[in-house]
Symmetry: C2
Subunit: 184 residues, 2 copies
């Protein structure tokens, strides 16, 4: 149920409409907790029903501006301080690695090479993003930078692992076929 806390967190910096929040999500939280429009509006309704947020004002085109209530702020603090984060446990990419026995070693190496490449591109993308953030902006920028650094380190690690794994597969290949000789 982290979407609700993400919304409470965003609203805790100031009132916003569903539309505003959707943009905030896409700008800042997309890399750690994506959400779709329909999910977002649904959750806002439920948050309002639960009294964690309220409609501050209604504007043009049915625009509703929401603000966090004290109950909502308390819930956010509770989640931040007392609820243990759930570690990620599903890696489509690694699952395939278990089944490398079903494809040729060349195909396995090609797969790992692609992963290496994607990780490198992700690292570049994040490094660039890092440049565009003003050094001392709002709270989101300051703390978002910590998350961004995580992404950078993560994609670098990913890249290095893929390089290491390619060599492992090649070594395994040589053990299995000691007479064959393939070019790099």
């Amino acid at each position: 149920m982290s979407l609700r806390h993400a919304l409470l967190g965003l609203l805790s910096e100031g009132p916003a409409s569903g539309y505003d929040l959707l943009k905030l999500f896409d700008e800042s939280l997309a890399n750690v907790w994506p959400a779709t429009q329909s999910q977002l509006y649904g959750e806002l309704g439920r948050l309002a029903d639960a009294g964690l947020i309220v409609v501050l004002s209604e504007g043009a085109r049915g625009r509703k501006e929401y603000a966090v209530t004290d109950t909502g702020r308390a819930e956010l603090r509770h989640w931040l301080l007392e609820v243990k984060p759930v570690p990620v446990r599903r890696y489509d990419m690694l699952l395939r690695v278990f089944f490398f026995g079903q494809i040729s070693e060349d195909d396995a190496i090609a797969y790992l090479g692609e992963q290496r490449q994607e990780a490198a591109e992700e690292a570049d993308r994040l490094a660039e993003l890092n440049e565009t953030i003003a050094p001392y902006a709002d709270n989101f920028a300051v703390y978002g930078r910590l998350a961004l650094e995580w992404g950078l380190r993560s994609s670098r690690m990913y890249q290095e692992w893929a390089e290491w794994a390619i060599n492992e597969v090649k070594a395994h290949d040589r053990t299995a076929n000691p007479d064959s000789c393939k070019p790099d």
Copy 2:
């Protein structure tokens, strides 16, 4: 839809029952793609309906032994070679970091310290697991080791990041309150 491919992958090393597969899941795939018993039996039924697997034999206590069909093997290969892995994009732990503005800097540091600790424990756990795997066992062991190495590098990176982030928050604290002086 990776559960289905995980099942096809496991079955591609030899026939097994739902019960067998459940144990295989918990032993080898739990860290990259967990599955519950009820999910597994449901998916086996759907795979059989779709003709990707067949019931080889029925044993005692209603035991059904499944085997992959050629269609199933083709589907597995297709998934391995042509379907791009979906990158993980939801990090409960990092989402909280964005909202550090809502808690005190000491609380933020405590949070990061816990994460550092958990990462260290995970690294130890995986290092130990690495020792228990026979050097040249079956395909799963050989390639599973690649995934395990990923986990090791990942938890080390996580740990180092948390240490770095703690210092960042402290530095930010000192910028905000230049006169205060806290013990480490």
